[in-house]
């Protein structure tokens, strides 16, 4: 199968979360979140209580996938930044390390210029964390492999129970 499953460990999750919070503060944004290219939410911070982040994550990935398709047709590799401007809120979407998508939602308390600047900085940091994560997974250092994997023990019964 292509690529490997995305795995997230405590250590990297904390680093990612800290970076998202820093970005949120420094860019004066409302919400910052990170999605993998398949639409799964990795982390979110900010005013997320009344926000359907799961759906936003899926639609963000759909959006990136669709624009990626358009890019290909034009002979571009990808469009690495998307920006949607609303009456009140704006969305800034960027691809990091070709694998994850960083989304910043902001209103008039911030500006596109500021968001772009801060996103650029965070992209480097986040890119580094994901490289570290990938290495860990490839080297099998994380808890996913070996005896303590929670999946090795899964039975048919466990799965049946899911459906009540």
């Amino acid at each position: 199968m292509i690529g490997s499953d995305l795995v997230m460990y405590e250590e990297e999750f904390k680093q990612i979360d800290a970076e998202l919070q820093r970005l949120l503060t420094q860019s004066n944004a409302k919400v910052v979140f990170l999605v993998d290219k398949n639409g799964q939410l990795i982390a979110a911070t900010g005013e997320t209580e009344n926000l359907d982040t799961t759906s936003l994550a899926s639609l963000t990935a759909g959006n990136i996938a669709a624009t990626g398709g358009m890019a290909k047709l034009l002979g571009e590799k990808e469009f690495s930044i998307l920006f949607h401007e609303g009456q009140r809120d704006n969305i800034h979407i960027s691809i990091i390390g070709q694998r994850v998508i960083l989304v910043v939602i902001f209103d008039q308390r911030s500006s596109l210029g500021l968001v772009r600047l801060r996103v650029k900085k965070s992209a480097d940091v986040l890119g580094g964390i994901f490289n570290q994560l990938l290495q860990k997974v490839e080297q099998g250092k994380g808890p996913a492999k070996g005896a303590d994997s929670p999946f090795a023990e899964i039975t048919d019964e466990d799965i049946d129970k899911l459906f009540g």
């Binding site: 199968m1 690529g3 499953d5 997230m8 639409g39 899926s58 492999k145 466990d158 799965i159 899911l162």
Partner: protein, 198 residues
């Protein structure tokens, strides 16, 4: 491509409902949505045309419960069935963990079924997957209609690999959860395989 989060103890998997236009993919998701208790489902999102034809995808996030202390989430997607939406179908297959093929049992739709399976195979191959290896189940839908092809016949043209298959009437829910459960099981078992010794 599943997402295993050891930090928040969650597993996310992506399941795609595939099949020719109007075979009942969206209807499957609607039924699942209707029958799932409110705190285990997110909003169902349909990117559809004004006439309710799926334009890009339907999306339904389901939180099913826990396995060994891990919250298990399935993200269900449907593809648009019409031939001219092929570009969108390819995009939705990215990162898929399991596929449900919904076949339309009506005699006049058999050709469309066969074409759609071939299209699924091609599009999966393009993404680096192999239909013969990926977790896969088949649903023979619309069994309530008068002009249906016998199951044995559908099986022989659509299910040479003998993957789990189910008769269904998605519009009243018959077979819908059997199908979902079967694909969920295959996906989780695949996850287990991937984690063992890998």
């Amino acid at each position: 491509m599943s997402f295993i989060n050891y930090s928040s103890r969650e597993i996310n998997c992506k399941i795609v409902y595939y099949g020719p236009g109007l075979c009942g993919k969206t209807t499957n998701l609607h039924y699942i949505y209707k029958k799932t208790n409110p705190d285990s489902k997110g909003k169902m999102i349909s990117l559809a045309t004004e006439t309710e034809r799926t334009l890009f995808f339907d999306f339904l996030p389901l939180a099913l419960g826990e396995i060994r202390g891990f919250k298990t989430r399935f993200h269900l997607y449907t593809v648009p069935g019409q031939v001219f939406y092929d570009a969108s179908r390819k995009l939705i297959l990215k990162g898929v963990d399991g596929v449900v093929f919904v076949a339309d049992s009506q005699v006049e739709r058999m050709e469309a079924n066969v074409e759609s399976v071939e299209n699924l195979r091609t599009n999966l191959t393009e993404q680096g997957y192999n239909l013969d290896a990926v977790p896969y189940v088949i649903q023979y839908n619309k069994r309530d209609l008068p002009n249906v092809v016998p199951v044995a016949e559908m099986r022989s043209s659509l299910n040479p690999r003998s993957v789990p298959d189910f008769e269904a009437i998605a519009s009243d829910g018959t077979g819908v959860f059997d199908t979902l459960k079967a694909i969920a099981k295959l996906v989780i078992m695949e996850l287990k395989k991937g984690q063992e010794g890998g």
